[in-house]
């Protein structure tokens, strides 16, 4: 697995509106068979009576390549921004596995994570941290990737439980991934099955420390090694029927 160098990847996919076909999924017929009905090319009648052609994979999704979010040039401003980011970790409320049972204790008075500026948000657009709570089945991984890519940079991933580290209990299962860091960049691992709420709070503390010192750069790593991650993801998601990048 040789990672592509950063310079190759940083090339913007679309320059002055040139077509960006090379980024899209291979445009062959065998790919179309996985497409959902609503994502197939079709003709539709507009309210004014004219017939228009719709190709949802091209028209509805942005196909520009993700960009590295550079640090702010003035150092002190970047430091201030990092402090602000570390004090407002907004977590996407997507319970991907059984670790999500320990989230309710965290938002209730006993372990109250809000005092550290951590709170749950209902949509990826509002959140900047993603808790992968335990094992990930292939079907969920597909949704997780989409949710992760919809989140705004800077964004962080916390992987919970031993299942995300090496497969844990389900190391020999045919439907759960073994190592999360092959498919998504992980900032902080929290070990345990399942980790206690205190461990989660400690994990948030660690993430804060990383953000404050400017070391939580995994989202940029994802952008830099985008092709490598995509190749890994496509290896196990056999029915790839979504755009490669869909923020």
């Amino acid at each position: 697995m040789n990672r592509l160098t950063a310079t190759e990847d940083k090339l913007p996919a679309s320059v002055f509106g040139l077509p960006t076909n090379f980024l899209k999924m291979k445009e062959t017929d065998d790919n179309d068979k996985f497409l959902h009905e609503e994502n197939k090319k079709r003709e539709a009648t507009a309210p004014d009576g004219s017939i228009i052609e719709i190709d949802p994979m091209q028209d509805y999704f942005c196909d520009a390549r993700p960009q590295v979010s550079e640090p702010y040039k003035i150092k002190i401003v970047e430091k201030f921004l990092n402090w602000a980011r570390s004090e407002s970790i907004w977590v996407l409320g997507f319970g991907t596995g059984c670790g999500s049972i320990e989230i309710p204790p965290l938002v209730t008075p006993r372990f109250d994570m809000f005092r550290y500026g951590v709170q749950m948000r209902p949509t990826p657009r509002q959140s900047n941290a993603f808790i992968i709570s335990g094992y990930l089945s292939v079907k969920t991984l597909k949704r997780v990737i989409r949710s992760y890519e919809q989140m705004q940079s800077p964004k962080y991933v916390i992987a919970l439980g031993s299942c995300t580290i090496n497969g844990g209990m389900y190391w020999d299962s045919y439907n759960t991934i073994n190592r999360l860091d092959q498919y998504m960049p992980v900032d902080v691992y929290i070990a345990g099955c399942m980790p206690r709420p205190e461990a989660l709070l400690a994990g948030f503390g660690k993430l804060k420390e990383l953000i404050k010192t400017g070391r939580a750069e995994k989202a940029n790593e994802y952008v830099e090694n985008f092709d490598w991650y995509k190749a890994n993801q496509k290896k196990i998601i056999k029915d790839w029927n979504m755009p490669d990048y869909n923020w």
Partner: protein, 175 residues
Amino acid sequence: MKNFIKDLGYKFNISEIEYQRKNLTFLTIDKENVVQLLAYLRDYEGFKHFVLMTAVDWIEDGIFQLTYILNSPEKKIDLGIRTKILREKAEMTTVHHLWNQVATYQRELKEMFGIDFPGSPRVDESFILEGWDNIPPMRRDFDTKKYAEETFFPRPGRSTNDPSEYMKQKLYPNE
């Protein structure tokens, strides 16, 4: 319970009876008579509650065993109805018209075992897996460990021990 099973034996061709508990009995019956038996039990004997339906893969005999467990809320007894179908041509008559939830079970069996139930609603839609391109995973000849090692990226350094061997080495090596 025993009298009831005896009466049932006069009406249907039951090949094997196994009394497991005082309120649980397993019957084995031909594939062709299953639907009649289930309908009879539901309509005339009060076995209204369909508990579960599943398959067991006896690969060495080349058959799938299908088990339907019915429960009678009034008599408070359970009846397990077993039938055997060939592994090569795995096909079974659907019973989705008797209970509403059966279609889900049959959809799962189609996906996980590859047993076909012609006529069952949405039986060909995938239920649990997505984009699966191997043999149905619950069949005994599917090796999940091999598949996982080939498909996912195992973290190097993980070692496995057979627990009985390992404990013998650790605890009583001289025996």
